[in-house]
Symmetry: C2
Subunit: 454 residues, 2 copies
């Protein structure tokens, strides 16, 4: 039996942050991973999808700027993009991550962890005992719903769709959330004929309706066949192709079918029964990341606790869990539906805090203020791409911003300003003193805050 | 004689903002402009310089990203870039600005305004009377120092350097501040052989030393001959070329010579004697933009008051002046050396608030925290261009950020987050809850704020 201060199960971003933080604080940490150190995000999700998306966005922008477009009249080099994607995911080899663990004396155990009791885990034949705490950070996997034969026909999930070595001739994407929209655009840009199917009446249902509208139009302009309000009722596979039947009877066919309608927590094989938790379910936690009935020793961070299925939310929660383990007071106040998130499409959709609808539903005296960052002087130097719009949602009673949604080319990095304003609860009358530099598109803030100008 | 509530002298950005704001509040406004409505910034400074810089930056980035570089193996189309620059500056025609004035019933008078007494101005034969206030927003022009024959030989100023229809074969840039660095890079990228001369030991003397170092290296890598610690002692013009003699005796020669060492306020021809102010001098104002001895009616905003020679600072001050005129309490607390500013070179240099040196000199218990945004996961998707580094300056007593400097590719839009954090005086312990989205380069904040993590 090997004993450690803390055992972390799952070496994705949340688990890694937890290990790093605890090791930095002098604790003896053991990390258990059944697949690759780095996790879903690094190998099969955020990182490879951005590697597939960014070249197309950049070439499109180059083509829109006079004087540059003349120099860029070639085509995207698909083979090179796939190679670069493989480089970003280190050819699905996690060797590069290991020195980081060794430098911190983090003990890595490879295999499936299963609870054998309180603070006790079994990995294969090995028994692990935690002196202080166990952190579950096992993440999530694609959820495949029981539509027709969907579960049996082995469709693509985010894993195959981000790591495919070939550009499929045609692809049906089932699910119009962030993952579905990003991968629809990525493969369309690389030459695939793409149909994007969403059961709800619009894409990105968690975002402001205007963001969904602008993105849907942009995807259509790019040649993606977008079907909203189209629940799937059947799925089948025949030699070399998939078919998906929609409510109403139409049947779509394509070489590949990607299912991106949601996630399920990786809690099936953890032996949770041994500590009276339900396998296969999300593990509920309080704001300090403690698991009910096991508050003194058990934590769950990242996708597995269902609070906010975002890499950065998992990293944030990991810090909160570590603080709790180290007996510091810390609470996660900024994950859940408030967490910032970016859809890396063109236009990008970046949002943080409450949408107008959610703010009103929460009883906030909310007002939306909209402006177009493309119409600032700084907008003159960005190519005329997809439509752009920025919205802030203001709490008129407290005179602070409670939500923001940015839609436009390369707006991802501009989100942090909104996040600071919202999390910092900076009064609007103070924010107007934070003049944006000329000529940047950040001057959109002048319009957004005009009503609170001196 | 024509009477108006307020007369604004100078139709640059500061004057335009003042006019727009006052007209929106229902006042009868008269605007006097002796050149072009839009001002220096729109026609001969910020706007054309960015039009010259952006294509080169974009093509360079395209060339650094695998899969895109293969499509972009051509050269910048210089003629098209100059044409687009001409489009941005509307071929030095201000017609496009006039509908905006008309819609707001702003009365435009073209010509040189001269004070004829309190609240009274003469423009040619026309006498103008202000019922409430006069706002001086006449801006500044290039200052040409009496070095050798420099004032007599008609060198380029920012005006010629931003509007030239030809790419000179060679160019000496005298002055290593923002304007000098930007225009050195712009013309170098378009093919000119450029020597950049700065009397002080380093470029960008108002910025953090590391920013100057990174920029100097990048300019050298690009082929700019950078001479720092090199005061000029003589200047002459011979047939078709300029020469500049440096302290030590070396003489540089080039087809053109750009002087970018500073600005002088446009206060020579305003008839300031009539109201007992000194012509040719900066017009000092208080934090409400009021001119001493004339507090009840006279305001000065923008470069002419010498507080912060930046377009956005002028716009900010204009709002403060308007509030004061409308009897609202407002003070400019965020211009002067605290104002955000961006140098649009590659790497860009974006800064706001205090440098470490200025913070320490001001008695702040200051500490600098540095991190490299290029080493975030989001940095993987940006080409490996010039070096990048972000610094925050923290007030350890108050536990807030008091300064930030961002150096890197396309960091201009990332500055607003720092500006909100600083102006909002958001406690560091609160800022750490503002998690940046993965994978953006904004995650550099995780490293910058690590010491204040929960």
């Amino acid at each position: 039996m090997s004993e450690h201060d803390v055992i972390v199960i799952g070496a994705g971003p949340a688990g890694e942050v937890a290990c790093g933080q605890l090791a930095d604080e002098g604790l003896d940490v053991c990390l258990v991973e059944r697949e690759l150190v780095g996790g879903e995000c690094a190998f099969w999700a955020c990182m490879p999808s951005k590697a597939l998306l960014r070249p197309g966005d950049l070439l499109a922008e180059a083509g829109r700027v006079p004087g540059v477009s003349e120099a860029c009249d070639g085509e995207l080099d698909t083979a090179t993009i796939l190679e670069r994607r493989d480089e970003v995911i280190h050819d699905l080899d996690d060797d590069v991550q290991l020195p980081w663990l060794r430098e911190r004396s983090i003990h890595l155990v490879r295999g499936q962890a299963r609870f054998a009791g309180e603070r006790r885990l079994r990995v294969g034949d090995e028994l692990l005992q935690a002196r202080r705490a166990v952190i579950i950070a096992t993440g999530s996997g694609a959820d495949i719903p029981p539509i027709g034969e969907l579960r049996e026909i082995a469709p693509w999930t985010n894993r195959e769709a981000t790591t495919s070595k070939e550009v499929p001739a045609s692809l049906i994407v089932l699910g119009g959330g962030a993952v579905g929209c990003e991968l629809a655009q990525a493969w369309r840009t690389l030459g695939t004929r793409v149909t994007l199917v969403e059961a709800l009446p619009r894409l990105l249902p968690a975002h402001e309706p205007f963001a969904a509208e602008l993105l849907e139009q942009a995807l259509r302009d790019r040649g993606v066949d977008v079907r909203t309000g189209a629940p799937a009722t059947g799925a089948a596979r025949t030699d070399g192709s998939f078919s998906l039947t929609l409510d109403g009877g139409e049947t779509l066919e394509a070489q590949e079918l990607l299912v991106a309608i949601g996630r399920k927590p990786h809690t099936d094989d953890l032996g949770l029964e041994a500590i009276d938790l339900a396998p296969g379910e999300t593990i509920a936690v309080d704001d300090r990341m403690r698991v009910a009935s096991h508050e003194s020793w058990l934590y769950a961070v990242g996708d597995v606790n269902g609070r906010a299925l975002l890499t950065h939310a998992g990293k944030y929660q990991a810090l909160v869990a570590c603080a709790t383990i180290m007996n510091r007071e810390a609470r996660a106040i900024w994950d859940r539906e408030l967490a910032p998130q970016v859809v890396f499409t063109e236009p990008q959709v970046a949002a943080v805090g409450l949408t107008l609808e959610r703010a009103l539903a929460a009883g906030v005296r909310a007002r939306a203020v909209d402006a177009d960052p493309g119409r600032t002087p700084g907008g003159s130097f960005v190519g005329k791409g997809a439509a752009a719009r920025t919205r802030i949602v203001v709490d008129e009673e407290r005179e602070v911003i409670v939500g923001a949604t940015l839609v436009g080319t390369d707006v991802a990095e501009s989100l942090q300003a909104a996040t600071f304003a919202i999390v910092g609860e900076v009064p609007l009358g103070r924010l107007v003193h934070a003049m944006p530099a000329f000529p940047t598109r950040s001057e959109v803030w002048l319009k957004l805050l005009a009503d609170w100008a001196p």
